[in-house]
Symmetry: C3
Subunit: 462 residues, 3 copies
């Protein structure tokens, strides 16, 4: 698989615009950790990729947690003394404290204040607040609006329902040559928040579309889950099968103008961690690789000590570190078509590394093979070599069965694509053997002569 | 044990002043590696802590060394031609070359010069010089005084005695729940030198007082020994028992205005090395962690290759690097009550880390446990978490039986106290098991069901 | 062996001038990978050291390569329409594309251009170009000369011959106490290029002269080989014996005004890598230690994955990074007598480290031995110690059988010479035992009492 090449060649022109449009379609939906908002989102994804939707009933135990009641909401407002809707859920779904219990009361400002959330530092923005596991109701509004509220009586109304129902999540599986899996996971539980929610699920959907069209070495599983409780529910239902997850990535907040941040898996040096470091280096844009920490997105669950899965997290801005985080300013203007497209390309490059990372054996390991007679070397000597010849020399030198192409790329500074191409050319001229194929060969014919035509082995004892 | 808390709550108000006063009481005594000066010092310490005093006879072989003759001195002076005491031991005991043999002679300046020690670069200060293992006599004086000496005849007199006697050292042992020991060692062989000698032994005495009053996990041994020969004598007499020393610290030069320096043990990464790094980081003041080197204080002996004990050395200024080192300027003004108190607190914090550093097992290791229902999480979501919740998440994530609380503190950047408190709260809510207690439990009842309520184990083979 | 001392004491005064003169003598010879130029160069070396010259016949297979036809050249020129030699091999042997097939033709400038090589960026310099493995002919000239060529007909003539013959290389072996070898290798295949070729072979020749005169711990093998094909031919003929190579160094480009560059062996941390780092540190001049890469000089072959020998490469300027590289500007003015002498001294210092690097056992490992009674410590205490005492303490502390003198020098920051001297003094006073001699002793008399006079061993279990 050369996913990036496929995307560049066969992907629609204005990929970024399309991903952004998909996010825009989903933006108005009032999502939460349960309810119809999640279902509508999953259904929209289902129009693009073969998503299976799962429903976990209220009350089901998932590890230490219990699936909560399903939350749905029809309307919500605060009316002033003149009966005018001064805070209106219809205008912005962030106005309601997510998971608010129903309420319909009149009360003075003094009492109402306990249920109002604002951001004094950003007086024009509406915060996003939740109360999933403690019954409460509330409204979020701009601090300026709060300050301007006269001291009068207000009518508050939240037409929500907390009922026996289900938690919904979506899963999309593409089998590959191997049962070993690449897991891509994103959360789908935030209402009108563009970067922290929609950017991840939109890019993930497009990535799945492109992966679906290719021959795959690995199997791929894309998860679209409500944050925390959704990932926990999925892990509970699949806990006996997670050992096949060879590489995993949580995608979140990948649409805004910021360099990339990759948070390493708890193990800290697994293949996806090393692959992402090389991919980000090759990509050339500003980026930072962060050590694992137990706060963040659903890698919290995948990397809990009982599972300790090789799952990292790709972001542009890191949660909580940018002012727009969890506010109405994380809107459709905050995410950029170009950034979404670049994020998709970065993920495709990562998939290319995972798919093509192999170990090889140099079949002529004593001295350099003569590349010139195979058309792999310049004919006039005396000048510096180019990076293609340099990559050939690196691949030959490190094809000792121990180093993978990823190791070679990391050590040499040559891009993974260049190294991969060098390995392909060397294999075509018969200088390299794929270690896996070699092992399969040996399984079929244990008597087969070894690939090394020279029959001495210097005893290098020191 | 929470030693720092106890000191803060029950320690006398003006702790620094008290430690400084104790140093002041001991300042005039003319100490050396043997003799009554050491004995008087040990007796003074004995009024505060249950010190046992040991006497090793002159001539005893201790490894490659022999206990020297005991040195005592009554008086010493240089008189000028008019019979005036121009250099007078009674005014400052540094004036005599420590361990001088007795002398009473008249001689011209020319000959006297060979026995005079000064510091030309610091012309107002008297140096501290010794001649323990080669018979010699001499006087130390300021360079200005030397330059002003007229070329006349002088009477020199040192009323000292080198006799069959003993080397004295003190030892104070507080048994704990475990036989494993924390060793605190300081030297007590310098005459009127405040930082390099009195600061260490005074803080050590106070530390012992506070440790004595607490329940202890470890046993504690405080040593007050003449430098080098005293430590060697102690090691010779206790060489079969040193394997119980789990952590050790040499205290010296911890009273002056300087950031801390911690010199690591020869092993370089034992628990006390890691603990001190975290303690110094949490303390926040400027500090530096130094690699081991074989020159310094008595860690030279504890870390000799045959013993190779896990013993580090805490200083403020490093020996030989500050101008006042081994001069009359290392006086009672050079050490500050506040610095002495801070050093004591730092040692107490270290003891807290050693006492409370344990490994735990997260009893719900698959996904995060639901902290909210246990009152350990904020109820309204959407905003950044505080450091207490962060610490809870770190402790849960790293409580895999492999990581200690010290590891968690080092990795997370959260202070050891915060991590420790998080572990306590998690243990109280039943989410954590102490690995040691767990192992004891299993010893008592090998059939007991394992603590993990979930009965599957994902086979994470890679 | 103390090679540096021997060189300083017995080496000729103007060593740099002599080495430079030797390079100057060899400068005019038209070398290539085969032919009489190489033979004349080897014969010149043979007048100074006992070099054996080997001839490998054309057509011989050496691993993946075949020894090419032997190339010799008598004359070459381009004549203009007036019959004037405007490009003349007799004036500079770089003018001919090395390994050009014979040609004698008339042709217009348009056609001639395909066979002309220049450096547009350095219009006054003649490039050095080769075409070993593809039949071609050509001339190298300055870009200014090319630009000035009128559009007329030219006579080109290369009187070269490519015939069945041999590839020649030289080898000089000095047996030592051990069969284990130090390999010094340099290439001898470049025509009139001073730094890239002559500096390495000239310094190597002088190094061999001095090594020859000393008692040796290791055996020494000096190779003078045509680049790539010569090293490959040598490895093919000696592949069963390379396991004795304990340390190896390729010397190249060590005559010009530049700090040193040492490129580590493929293994990256073998003794020669660590030794060279210490030698360069002690030397004090600017230098850089580079990681291994598979492009460069003949370390490419020695470090191919099948051999993976412990061979590094010492340069001043790195190939391809300085403008004079492979041009007529790499002439006798480009290399400096002083630089050549310094390079020789650096190599001698390296040999000293390799020869004298041993592990010792501190025979009094419990506490410090009393250095004073052995005359190894100052008698008056109180002042800072000097670096000689510091080195004694380091050697005692790290002589646990695990650390070599090289480790001690690297860890302590004391020069290898200082550490080595400290070990000698300690061994002379009976405080240290050479681990190798100890082992031989034990082989002779297994019942011999252990060297440690104290019969307890603290059980340090943690």
């Amino acid at each position: 698989m050369q996913l990036l090449k496929q995307i560049e060649q066969n992907g629609p022109r204005d990929l970024g615009e399309q991903i952004h449009q998909f996010a825009a379609d989903l933006y108005p939906i009032c999502r939460s950790i349960t309810g119809d908002g999640v279902r509508r989102t999953l259904t929209a994804i289902q129009t693009r990729i073969p998503l299976k939707i799962f429903e976990v009933p209220t009350g089901a135990d998932v590890f230490d947690w219990t699936i909560p009641k399903e939350w749905n909401i029809r309307d919500a407002y605060i009316k002033n003394a003149r009966g005018e809707r001064i805070v209106d859920f219809q205008r912005c779904n962030l106005h309601v404290l997510n998971y608010s219990v129903p309420v319909h009361e009149r009360m003075p400002l003094r009492k109402l204040r306990d249920h109002l959330f604002t951001i004094p530092d950003r007086p024009d923005w509406i915060p996003y607040r939740t109360s999933y596991y403690r019954e409460n109701w509330g409204f979020c509004l701009s601090h300026n609006q709060l300050k301007a509220l006269p001291d009068e009586e207000y009518e508050v109304c939240i037409e929500s329902a907390l009922t026996q129902g289900h938690l919904s999540y979506g899963e999309c599986y593409f089998p590959g040559a191997s049962d070993e899996e690449v897991l891509i996971s994103c959360h789908i539980c935030h209402p009108s928040l563009a970067n922290d929610n929609l950017s991840g699920l939109a890019v993930s959907t497009y990535l799945a579309q492109f992966v679906a069209a290719e021959q795959r070495r690995y199997s791929y599983r894309f998860l679209f889950v409500p944050g925390t409780i959704g990932a926990i529910a999925w892990l509970r239902r699949n806990c006996e099968k997670v050992a096949v997850i060879r590489h995993g990535l949580v995608l979140s907040g990948i649409g805004n103008d910021s360099g990339f941040h990759y948070k390493k898996s708890r193990r800290g040096n697994v293949e996806i961690d090393r692959a992402m470091s090389v991919v980000l280096r090759d990509n050339g844009e500003p980026h930072k690789v962060l050590d694992f920490s137990p706060y963040g997105y659903d890698e919290r669950q995948y990397c809990s000590p009982g599972f300790n899965l090789p799952v990292g997290c790709l972001m542009r801005s890191v949660w909580g570190t940018f002012p727009e985080y969890h506010t109405s300013a994380d809107n459709l203007d905050f995410i950029k078509p170009q950034r979404l497209a670049e994020s998709l390309r970065l993920c495709a490059t990562l998939v290319d590394v995972l798919e093509n990372n192999r170990r090889y054996r140099n079949l002529l390991p004593y001295c350099e093979p003569q590349l010139g007679k195979r058309g792999l070397y310049r004919s006039t000597g005396g000048q510096a070599i180019d990076s293609e010849i340099d990559a050939l020399l690196w691949v030959l030198n490190l094809s000792d069965g121990e180093h993978s192409l990823l190791d070679m790329s990391a050590t040499s500074g040559q891009s993974f694509a260049t190294i991969c191409d060098a390995a392909r050319r060397l294999q075509e001229t018969g200088l390299l053997a794929d270690i896996c194929e070699e092992e399969e060969e040996r399984d079929r014919d244990p008597e087969a002569v070894t690939s090394n035509p020279i029959d001495f082995t210097p005893r290098l004892s020191h």
